[in-house]
């Protein structure tokens, strides 16, 4: 029994450490110029932020609406008509993708690797 407890505590310690390192990796991941917007697993737009002009993009999902804004080479969710507004609160796209769970919308940087080509 003692053995199992010790193993569990070790497992938790390893887990926290791994998660912390993983956090650091994600936070250090630099943003690329290309942003992709997907909804329900389908690619809607691929945008080159360095070339895109300031604009607002409206995306609808089952009668609900998200408004994405591009300004000064940055992108964020301007409006969402879901109750939680988590995607709006996420702010400008930096490291972690902007996710709207209710409307199944994701804004993320395209990986610079060759495994992320979805077009």
């Amino acid at each position: 029994m003692k053995n199992i407890k010790a193993k569990l505590v070790t497992a938790i310690a390893v887990l926290i450490f791994t998660a912390a390192v993983w956090c650091a990796v994600i936070l250090m991941r630099g943003g690329s110029e290309n942003v992709k917007i997907t909804q329900d697993g389908k690619l809607l737009y691929t945008i080159d932020l360095s070339k895109a002009k300031d604009q607002k993009i409206e995306v609808e999902y089952k009668g609900r609406k998200n408004v994405i804004e591009i300004k000064d080479g940055r992108i964020h969710m301007l409006e969402a008509d879901c109750p939680d507004h988590i995607c709006v609160d996420t702010g400008w796209l930096e490291n972690v993708p902007i996710v709207c769970l209710p409307n199944r919308l994701v804004i993320e940087f395209e990986e610079s690797g060759n495994d992320a080509e979805v077009r």
């Binding site: 029994m1 199992i4 407890k5 569990l8 505590v9 938790i12 887990l15 926290i16 791994t18 998660a19 912390a20 993983w22 956090c23 994600i26 997907t38 329900d40 697993g41 879901c82 109750p83 939680d84 507004h85 988590i86 609160d89 996420t90 490291n95 972690v96 993708p97 996710v99 769970l101 209710p102 199944r104 994701v106 993320e108």
Partner: protein, 163 residues
């Protein structure tokens, strides 16, 4: 099931629900929007240790269902439900190994399983793996929140006589 038992389960569900609704009104605690402490799980952890598996499941699922109705966010139900199921199964397995003085360890693992379950549901629903980027942050916060809720549950259990 005796009337006394049903009343106890009802009261526990109500307490969990009140904590849940009050917590929804609190401002965001961290830099990840939408991240919560999950204080309602103080009741879940307590119920896992003091009630049968079926009773603990009844409390948890009533709270999740009513909580998402009261919170006005039914679309979040699938994520909470999947997280809740994984967390509950994990803690029910652990309660045999970890006694009441180790509730908090069980709670930490339960919180972790909750985060993994939530993320798996999100991957399945959203059909994208982009949401995994949130998992490590959820795990770190989940461990802290899990330890806190577990210690709270332990302190409650210390004040309530075992059956």
């Amino acid at each position: 099931m005796s009337t006394k038992r049903i009343t106890q389960l009802g009261i526990l569900t109500t307490i969990a629900l009140i904590i849940f609704v009050v917590e929804l009104r609190l401002p965001d605690l961290s830099f990840i929007p939408g991240m919560k402490l999950g204080l309602a799980n103080i009741v879940t952890v307590y119920a896992v240790y003091r009630y049968t598996a079926k009773e603990a499941a009844m409390i948890l699922f009533s709270r999740i269902l009513l909580g998402s109705i009261f919170g006005g966010n039914m679309s979040a139900l699938i994520y909470s439900l999947n997280g809740g199921i994984m967390c509950l199964l994990g803690m029910l397995a652990l309660r045999k190994i970890l006694d009441e003085r180790r509730m908090w360890v069980s709670s930490v693992i339960g919180a972790t399983l909750h985060n993994i379950g939530q993320t798996l549901a999100a991957i399945a629903v959203m059909r994208t793996t982009a949401v995994i980027a949130y998992l490590p942050f959820l795990l770190v916060a989940g461990c802290l929140a899990g330890a806190f809720t577990g210690l709270c549950a332990q302190s409650v259990a210390g004040r309530v006589k075992a059956r």
